[in-house]
Symmetry: C2
Subunit: 391 residues, 2 copies
């Protein structure tokens, strides 16, 4: 199958490209390296030493014998993206080519605008190119569980049947996004749904939980195939950050009370989910939404698990509660349905102590690269709230 | 009160500026004349001969003795807008400064991107400027009833209480926008709601129905104060178009069966609603949504009313059903709640035969300006659907 991966140089995009290539698909990737640039601009970097784009692709060819075609450019550049789609004629597009950080989107007006521009306009360009060149192509779009926010009812997968004043309809699940980044993902969902209803495109929105993990089957095959691993305040996800903090002797930084609950999944399960979505495409005209995570945890629960595992490995670990830089409920109901991917055959990787230990071991090999000053949060969701002393 | 009006050169923005100025408020207006430019690019123009921005403002000063401050620039230019907000320190902002046409947004990828860029980024810039300079300012944003689409349940005003699996929450009403323009308005609502929740801004989203009418109390005071009147396929709203068609002897063009039902209101009621919203501001942190229309009609019903009124004036009128260029349900349930503005004291102007006749008389004075070639629809929502013969 011809698979086009947007954002193919990223934390998830690169391993996804390798996975589809390893399975014998004809893989093309697009990236403009904005993720690498954003880290440079903010004094952070991947813990793992990632090879340049061309070098990774060459290394993969050496290791596997497979070719990955690469296109360097921005999805926001509609003419560029249109040419790529016209030339590669994908049967599936996996779209990771976005600014993926909530705190980054809250840094300033300029960064918020950059986020919504990159994400919304890039995705809108893609919808037109699919319509005009490959209307039968299946769009697999990475969304986020953070689109739903923290409603006081169970979170369904994309839609909810509403009975109201004696009538009934199944409608998009209401959204309460938690940052301007999350807003951009809601905008994308609205645009894609419209394109499916109006142009008969087919799409699957993978509303992903928070991903953790260092490596996948393919990235582990050669040092040069390693994927990026971030732990900084802007791009680091919470469990990855906790593991790195445990290794370098930095307190595990919990924002506020830590009772915020979210869905989580292992990077290996991200790939499994994307594979399942691509192997089981949506019907023409269908905008399908899957909630893509395997387990729910509170942030404090995660910190405690990492502390326990790290202590068993001989580390001494402290948990530190920082004033929460975000505006979010710390005590709230949270129950998100996530059965559709299980129904397609997903076998979840559960977060056991062994898994945390293996992450810690993988991190130990690169701990010399850690930039400690990039870890603690400086970005406030509401700068008008006076920065009280940190607990 | 210091009132800032974005899009103050437009069909509604200009009369709104005059209204607030006539009431003794300190009015500033922003525009970059993109609406005038879009018409020039597409071979259409206002039926009414509208004066240049500076000339209108001078004329108003002559007629009323009041000053309106003007700023020429784009809301998409964040630095420009930020300076305007910092300088004018508005207590209320009325935001009309957007690309307002659904068909325009469906013309091409470039026009869709322009629409979402202008609308979403302009509005996002505004939210930051309000946060940073005048967090107590009340944002009155023009939304549209078209954000809701055609759900099979009653449309509430912005929110709906949902009972689900034994739990309950009041959440944003689900949206099924009918064009990429309507999507952009949904995006705006999502961003504004977020800004209210996170930064404590105060906002009222006026989800407006389809506006009709030629003049308001203030624009009628002098020929040079007249507002624009559009009837072309891109920017003309349906009732205005029907009245013009009756006058120039063009069949009234109904898209499809014409049973599509929508909310409508008179331009005089638009001003009354905006005044009511400004006079009764939302609380800090509150994102308030009003459904702003006075009556529901099907498109065919409207055509029949115009035909009847025009025939009483001696015109001979034909109704023509064109193949529907839009993707929308032609037979559907539609019942939209609209009590909040009535509760604040709105006294609706109802669409009686006399009102249609007065519109026809106002149009007659300018009928020599009509560009007939700009009327019939050429923009298809789904270009892949073969253009069948028109009925």
């Amino acid at each position: 199958m011809r698979v086009l991966i947007l954002g193919g140089d990223g934390y998830l995009g690169w391993p996804t490209a390798l996975r589809f290539s390893a399975r014998g698909h004809e893989v093309s990737v697009v990236d403009n390296f904005s993720r690498r640039r954003w880290h440079t601009e903010h004094g952070s970097a991947s813990l793992t030493p990632i090879a340049d784009f061309d070098r990774r692709i060459e290394a993969w060819h050496e290791v596997s014998g497979e070719q990955i075609r690469s296109y360097v450019g921005a999805v926001e550049d509609g003419d560029f993206l249109d040419e790529v789609v016209a030339e590669t004629r994908p049967e599936a597009v996996v779209h990771y080519g976005q600014q993926p950080s909530a705190p980054y989107s809250m840094l300033s007006r300029e960064r918020a605008v950059e986020t919504q521009y990159t994400n919304v306009i890039g995705n809108l360009n893609l919808l037109f190119s699919l319509r005009d060149h490959v209307p039968d192509c299946h769009l697999v779009k990475l969304g986020t569980m953070g689109e739903y926010g923290q409603p006081n009812i169970d979170i369904e997968e994309g839609y909810i049947e509403i009975e109201h004043k004696g009538r009934k309809d199944t409608l998009p699940f209401p959204k309460l996004p938690g940052s301007l980044y999350h807003c951009s993902k809601v905008h994308d969902s609205t645009n894609i749904h419209f394109a499916c209803r109006t142009w008969g495109l087919r799409a699957t929105d993978l509303n992903q939980g928070i991903v953790y993990g260092v490596e996948t089957e393919e990235t582990a095959r050669d040092e040069r195939l390693i994927t990026r691993f971030d732990y900084d305040e802007l791009f680091g996800t919470v469990l990855n950050r906790f593991c790195l903090q445990a290794v370098i002797g930095h307190p595990l930084t919990v924002y506020g009370a830590g009772h915020q609950t979210r869905g989580f999944l292992n990077i290996r399960d991200t790939l499994a989910c994307v594979e399942l979505a691509v192997a089981n495409p949506a019907a023409r005209g269908d905008f399908r939404v899957f909630n893509q995570f395997t387990e729910q945890f509170s942030v404090l629960e995660l910190a405690e698990r990492v502390k326990l595992a790290a202590e068993h490995l001989g580390y001494s670990v402290e948990i530190q509660h920082l004033e929460n830089p975000r505006v979010e409920k710390e005590e709230h109901y949270y129950n998100a349905i996530h059965t559709k991917l299980l129904d397609l055959g997903l076998e979840p990787t559960m977060l056991g102590e062994e898994l945390v230990e293996s992450m810690i071991h993988a991190i130990e090999r690169h701990k010399g690269n850690a930039i400690e000053s990039s870890i603690d949060p400086h970005t406030r969701w509401n700068p008008a709230k006076s920065p009280a002393a940190q607990a």
